[in-house]
Symmetry: C2
Subunit: 224 residues, 2 copies
Amino acid sequence: MTDLPLTPRTRVRRLPHHQVTDRAALYDVLDGALAATLAIVRDGRPVALPVGIGRDGDDVLVHGSSGSDFFRRIAAGTPVCLTVTQLLGLKYARSLFDSSMRYRCAVVHGVASVVPAEEKEDALLVLSEHLMPGRSADVRPMTARELAATLVLRIPLSEASVKDNAGSLVEVDDDGEDRAVWAGELPLHVIAGDPVTSAQTVPGTAIPDSVRRAAARVAATGTA
Amino acid sequence: MTDLPLTPRTRVRRLPHHQVTDRAALYDVLDGALAATLAIVRDGRPVALPVGIGRDGDDVLVHGSSGSDFFRRIAAGTPVCLTVTQLLGLKYARSLFDSSMRYRCAVVHGVASVVPAEEKEDALLVLSEHLMPGRSADVRPMTARELAATLVLRIPLSEASVKDNAGSLVEVDDDGEDRAVWAGELPLHVIAGDPVTSAQTVPGTAIPDSVRRAAARVAATGTA
């Protein structure tokens, strides 16, 4: 796997020792997240909205309504910035200045391409498989009307950066830190609760394996 | 409390019935989140990075390095879009089309102002109190050098939108949904794990109440 290229947009400027240029790290951040924030420029101003994501090889897929002004602008070629943040904990140093959040984040810059009609269903199944693994087998196939109402966009992972501040806590005593103070990390994890059956589900219907599998994935990764 | 104003930038265009114009809902989303994505336009392209946040009345505070190009552009008046997303679950409908994530999000548009030197420490304590409640009392005060190295920015909450798709699941049978299929929601929560003591903490040092309080807040809200 090739390393992530360092470009003026992807070179981390602050705390550059937290930059990770291993492409596998990018895929790991993306695969461990269900949602991202997608930013564009609209009328000269930034607009950033949450979107579901699913990686397809060296691209990331997003989808939206064919009627959405936001997605139509992206389909028309306006550049995007896709940001995924995994908040993994809180780092308690012996000063507020050295304290921070424990996180991993990926920032992808690019121009999306529209997934053509004949590939749309497959692309939506890739997204669905990431967001709700196995669910497509539980429900009826997509209809032509639904496919027409959905815009699927492919963002290449060619210009991206990853930052991960895993390393150890700053414990340098540079300005009078009190050595008697506890320092450490409070880890944060995502967990899935018990599935809540809908009002109109036929009483007695078993919770499908697909839902249990989604819960297990959240439990295994601690992220969503 | 006044309602959030509807402007061309804040009027929700897709699924407008999910828009919430109650200002208290905005504060609730912000207060339940530790991090946001902050987007600007740089050289005509969108750039969006994760930041820690803390609400101070009718503003939201963010901070960064005085040397950061990103934060310096914001300090110089480039417009921002601040996006907070709380992923609360997965909604399993009887079609993929009607399935979705269960989320709340806030999108704030505005121009930040720089917190002046004489107010910086108080503003950083507001941020610190939100991110790590009580921690400032455990550690030494901030130093002049640390204050000088930090840029604190105040973003007014005057133009903001909130979207919340809490409502019940779509259960209309419009295109051949199989009524025998289970539908419902898989809730997602954030939890705090056990604190991990740093390598250089004096053996036997008790975990402070502040850290336990942060863990309790995560447990109470299920978000971070």
